[in-house]
Symmetry: C2
Subunit: 333 residues, 2 copies
């Protein structure tokens, strides 16, 4: 189904995005944005396969359709959520000092930190800029509401990001704190995407769509946490068990720290050796941290479907929306 969404939305979205990015000057800033979007490789050559899953814009367009709207008119909003997402990735990689993203050097690693901070900032400016193009098809009132939705997501994102950075220096993190962090860092933009799509369809139940998106985002983040420990390098582009090595306060690791004192001790010390990483993983298996995380993920997925179950929706797109959580739960990348 994801490939069906891609077939439907990818080309018009990509064309719109390339159009707005191509207006950017100077040339190097333009190139860096194209690189962040996966259009060119690190030598500036066109990439054959675009990187990035474009989940958030597809969610927005699908919600717009499901809510009975014209998805083509919503393309500028879809571009905006993808731009905001890419802004956050560019800054996130600097903040985490991650040198790889989508199997290529991250933007700051390819250029430098100073310019990469600025590229992130410029992507944010571009995100809000694209929203302005909605004015062609929508009232000032609607465009303003959609702009506010996106800005709420930005504010939530920075709140969540601050918590995430704080957690690094915090010996323990409980599940409530974790939940508050991912509400901001991940769920808010999913919620905004769904809400904006429904709003542009003038659907009165846009808050239900927001709830759908929020829970989908929460489930998505937990899937990410699971892949950060049990995923395969070939499919995720990250080393398996990276989140153990980096002692990340992800849901499975929080569970491990609560349930396995030896695991908690491993997380208190300095950087882990390969043997310690393996030991930590077997301790997570012993306390069934993975199936615990999968149960939480499933709850969120069900809550997403529940949020829109009583809504009046366009049947095909509405049906896809209800399938989406299961699709994302099963993902391996």
């Amino acid at each position: 189904m994801l490939s069906e969404l891609q077939q439907r939305y990818a080309t018009p979205l990509d064309e719109f995005l390339r159009g707005v990015v191509s207006e950017i000057h100077p040339t190097e800033l333009n190139l860096m944005q194209g690189y962040a979007f996966g259009w060119v490789d690190e030598t500036g050559k066109a990439m054959r396969h675009m990187s990035g899953k474009r989940l958030r814009p597809y969610l927005l367009l699908l919600c717009c359709e499901a809510a009975g709207g014209n998805w083509q008119q919503a393309i500028p909003a879809a571009a905006a959520v993808e731009l905001l997402h890419n802004f956050s990735l560019v800054h996130d990689d600097i903040q985490d000092q991650s040198i790889m993203r989508h199997n290529r050097p991250s933007v700051w690693a390819r250029w430098d930190q100073a310019k990469a901070i600025n590229v992130g900032d410029s992507l944010l400016g571009l995100a809000f800029h694209t929203l302005h193009a909605l004015r062609e098809s929508f009232s000032a009132e609607t465009v303003l509401a959609v702009w506010h939705d996106l800005n709420v997501a930005l504010r939530e994102l920075t709140r969540g990001q601050h918590l995430d950075l704080q957690f690094e220096n915090q010996p323990t993190v409980d599940e409530d704190e974790y939940r508050s962090m991912i509400e901001g860092k991940t769920a808010a933009l999913f919620a905004a995407s769904a809400k904006m799509g429904a709003r542009l369809a003038h659907h009165p139940g846009y808050d239900r769509f927001a709830e759908y998106g929020r829970h989908l985002g929460l489930a998505f983040q937990i899937r990410d946490d699971i892949l950060g420990i049990w995923g395969k390098r070939e499919t995720t582009g990250k080393s398996a068990a990276d989140d153990i090595r980096n002692q990340k306060k992800s849901l499975p690791n929080i569970r491990g720290m609560q349930r396995e004192p030896e695991f908690a001790r491993l997380f208190e010390g300095g950087k882990l050796s390969d043997a310690q990483v393996e030991r930590a993983r077997s301790l997570l298996n012993r306390c069934a941290a993975r199936s615990y995380a999968e149960a939480v993920e499933e709850q969120f997925g069900n809550a997403a479907i529940q949020a829109i179950s009583s809504l009046n929706m366009e049947p095909v797109a509405g049906g896809w929306l209800k399938e989406l959580p299961a699709q994302l739960l099963g993902r391996t990348i």
Copy 2:
């Protein structure tokens, strides 16, 4: 006159800003924002004297008054331009690795780089958020237009910042390139401030106000360049001649590179010794780089006044607007 503006606008602006910042969570993020605004010192204690000149918000409010508007209603927009300005300072200090700002450690130096990037991002989210409060007094159409003005400034700012960062690795920079850089990095937000103020007064000549603000910003930047070489540490909070030591492509230095081959050679090499800095300064004096920069500054100041000379304005505030360039040209801090 600047102190009269301060007396008039400082308290209501500050109260509004403190209100919106106080809603921020978590606490540490809130503290970091308060620090960036100069409300608390690095230990978290309230500062007696607020740092930061608040020039851009005062410009916005004064333009609103001069254009016949109600400046109290424009406070959220004034807060927004100050928030955007502070976002750019926080990121700028990271990009330049400057450890001091307003005689205190810069945000990243006091906390860390990762959190400081995020504080900048969150100030940007807050800037757009405050604009939404304009909806109480203005139509959706007007709020959207003002939001777009601010976002144009953000986009210009990142364009200018990219150029500035590029210049560091460029052996020479000509005056056209320099001009393009400061149009983005400094003038755009001054232009937006003036334009937003006039727009909120429903003055049909808001583009003339924008031209006024743009030229005022250009003059302001050149004054900054002059102070970066001939300013006194006690008043600017920076070491005198910092811009020579850092081989910054500022207007006087560009003039020196063009006119004095020995100066150009000093700028080609590595970091300058104290003796070389002194030699460079005497070479700048020999080619009259300071009076050249002051002449350019004056031109911009006159162009600012010219831009609004034929407009219908409220006489007191309009008179102040016409005095403002001379006030800023004479500044020593």
